[in-house]
Amino acid sequence: MKSPGMKTLGILLLCAAAVPLVLPGPFYLSIATQVLVYGLFAVSVNLIAGYCGMVSLGHAAFLGIAGYAFALLTTSTGWPLWAAIPAAVALSVAAGALFGLVALRTSGLSFLMITLALGQIVWGIAFRYVDLTNGENGISMPRFQGLLASGTGLYYLCLAVTAGCLALVTILAGSPLGASMQGVRDQPRRMSTLGYDVWRIRYAAYVLSAGIAGIAGVLYMLLFRFISPHTLSLTVSSEAVLMVIAGGLGTTFGPVVGAALVVLLKNVASAYTDRWPTLLGLIFLFIIVVVPEGLLPGARRLMRTFGSRLATRRGPTPIPASPIKEARP
């Protein structure tokens, strides 16, 4: 029910807007754009896992469905972008609405397994339905025109969309519906006793989350202009969950921080060592041991502890020596 800071979002937005001015080249700008795209995907996973308490291992399906739909609609059927984008997102929402009916019959570990299974089914279709999806070879899109052709333009577009979605999720988190989601996460039984329809609240969160993942899917296509079954794989789904857990489950900015961590390691560290997954593993180990609540809340806690330690070390202000004593030689 706490309303996390819109002010913080504004400040971060300003910093993010300055990023293309500071970065040395298009390679780094592309990485920054990737952070935003995967960040938005992580935000969608956080909505369901962090705010509603249901960890999904099949969210890449929604990213992929929107991605494939967008690619096919623009290349095969020749739809203009302005029509293909909402259609692709709508398809993700529809898939979420359908999957939700199946997955939400369960919760907890069973929910995890069902979402995993649903995700694998979609992956299987992308892999096997070669006539539609071109199978393993995937689908490439031609270069875009105008704003989308430049890396900077694309970066700002992704920034605007990700920040907009983040703002909406932040507003939602503080709203009655958001409070209900968090209530369902913490005490589902009490919630139904209080008159809340727990199933519908979970369903709303799930479908909304699928929609945001769909938006991330469109951004993904705008950035990479290529999609293959790998985009829908378990690896992508689980990476998103890792991003959310690393950044801070149920926090506003945690997912984006987690996404930044994974994307940077993948792209930057891999330039120096082939063993970057080992490095990623070590970092996750560090997070679980030192800041199990995630990087953001963990850093906040460590800073508080550090601050109060400093205060106690300084101790109470010393009593000045008595002037009488001082007067003596």
Partner: protein
């Protein structure tokens, strides 16, 4: 019109028959105590009435409406409020945050996806009124994790009251409380409005007997004695059920 009517209710878990043909009625405004040794089926009966469990057979009527097939949240909307024997609070929230969740549960506003709950002046004011009824208004903004057990028990009651129920199910509202806190809570219970129908499970006989006008005694899932306080106390089966343990 009866407030609550239970007809030939059965509940089995596999081969275990926990409730075996229970019949009873509760009149509006009545204070009814549900007694019985451990494992008699008291909490199961509460779960059946509240909707957390579905009966194997039989019927539950709330103000002449059959609610046997309604899910818990729909029964809550029809006026069933309850407290839990094991504290069931939103531990990350403040005291007032918990009551606000309870208030919202009964309103269409709960579906609103915008507008900060924490800043809603109407909800806050109403929540403070409810908290004042259980003397917790001074602790409104304290996190639940920093309150005492007795305060948490009172918060349980406040949340049920915030729902403005017609029937209140109190599941051991005094469990685990010190003697002093028991006094506070039983005074609170005595203050509850007379038009509120209350069904209570409680093992503290001093408080429970002072509170109840009518008593139903459950034993192995059967209602063996049902009547006024005096009748049930005088009945030899009451003694037997308790002493036979």
């Amino acid at each position: 019109m009866t407030a609550l009517r239970i007809d030939d209710l059965h509940k089995s878990f596999g081969g275990l028959h926990v409730i075996q043909g229970v019949n009873f009625t509760v009149e509006p405004g009545e204070r009814r105590l549900l007694l019985g040794p451990n494992g008699a089926g008291k909490t199961t009966l509460f779960n059946l009435i509240a909707g957390d469990l579905r009966p194997t057979a039989g019927q539950i009527r709330l103000a002449d409406e059959d609610v046997s097939d309604l899910p818990t949240f729909r029964r809550a909307a029809r006026g069933i409020g309850r407290t839990f024997q094991i504290l069931t609070l939103f531990a990350r929230e403040s005291v007032i945050g918990n009551v606000i969740m309870a208030l919202l549960g009964g309103r269409p506003q709960r579906w609103k996806p915008y507008g900060a709950v924490a800043k809603d002046p109407v909800l806050r004011r109403e929540a403070l009124e409810v908290l004042a009824r259980v003397r917790l208004d001074t602790l409104a903004d304290r996190p639940v994790s920093e309150t005492s057990y007795g305060e948490k028990r009172r918060l349980e009651i406040a949340m049920a009251l915030a729902q403005a129920p017609r029937i209140l199910l109190l599941d051991e509202p005094l469990a685990g409380l010190s003697k002093e806190e028991r006094g506070t809570v039983s005074a609170l219970l005595a203050e509850l409005p007379r038009n509120l129908t209350i069904l209570m499970i409680e093992h503290d006989m001093d408080v429970a007997l002072a509170f109840a006008e009518k008593i139903a005694l459950l034993h192995y899932g059967r209602l063996i004695v049902d009547g006024t306080r005096e009748e049930v106390i005088a009945d030899p089966r009451t003694r037997e059920a308790y002493l036979a343990q």
